[in-house]
Symmetry: C2
Subunit: 176 residues, 2 copies
């Protein structure tokens, strides 16, 4: 099952009731209950340019291959590449806009197995998708559930540039 | 064994030869060979203010508890907290300045088990330390080694705010 945030294609709403007044993102996600185990949600795309790669690198990750085009050209990647943390932050923005719910998100415990299998270069466009791989109600806090999400970012050539499993807490839908 | 980047305390150099001309950071780390299995390296500290928390949040992680002090006060954390990605980026900066070697760092494959067990709030000061938990030469690429590092960030009250195991590639010291 696939969900799309592009409203020009069919949008399946994961059991959302028509009387809801909660904010709902383009994937129809508002509360824990809406996240369908096994479903993949398309979360949009983002392009990254050299200036933003260098700016992020200078602030947070000033290794030569993130901040210095000349040194990077002679370095291990043959050119400038984005900090993995920059890629992660760009991916997060798409998740916040299209996957996590402002209504019910209670934050994240963390992530497992973050990988950057292919470099992100200036001019790349990354598409992000999120697949619910685990979903359970909290035993200790019955107002919330825990979802694990396989997050994948793929570049314009279909290469996966980032992959991780995120752990998020979300409120369950309040009783009517 | 503990290493300190503060030059006012004794600095143990991990086998670095006196004839090296390579850049060496304050922990005495230049090549793969210098990273001592089991050693913990102190990597300095960083303070985080509300303006930078909100600025990072607005760009990359605009959830209410990262960008809106009023909404955050009524939210799950009782106040504004830093995006976990912001914390990770601040930690990375200290690792680049005090642990990873500009001379030999070849980038990272990724990280395992990133956790943010305690929130980072405006005014917090985070201290970062890095412990080498695995170290091996590459079999396929003999010019490099792989180190796994337990990275920990601790706040001014001794609470761990971030923990992760990073996987890094580093050049071995060239033959004389």
């Amino acid at each position: 099952m696939k969900y799309f945030c592009n409203s020009s294609v069919m949008l399946e709403l994961a059991g959302r009731r028509c009387c809801d007044t909660a904010d709902v993102n383009d994937n129809g996600l508002s509360y824990f209950d809406d996240y369908v185990l096994g479903a993949t949600y398309e979360c949009g795309s983002v392009s990254v340019d050299q200036a933003s790669i260098v700016a992020f690198g200078k602030e947070f990750d000033p290794q030569p291959f993130h901040v210095d085009p000349v040194a990077a050209a002679a370095g291990p990647y043959g050119g400038l590449i984005a900090s993995g943390w920059h890629t992660a932050a760009l991916v997060m923005r798409l998740l916040v806009d299209n996957y996590l719910s402002a209504e019910s998100s209670l934050g994240s415990a963390g992530l497992d197995e973050i990988r950057w299998p292919y470099p992100v270069r200036p001019g790349n466009t990354l598409r992000v998708r999120a697949t619910v791989v685990e979903s359970r109600r909290s035993l200790s806090k019955p107002d919330r559930g825990i979802i694990k999400t396989l997050v994948e970012a793929v570049n314009q050539d279909g290469r996966t540039v980032m992959r991780a499993t995120a752990i998020n807490f979300l409120r369950v839908r309040p009783a009517p």
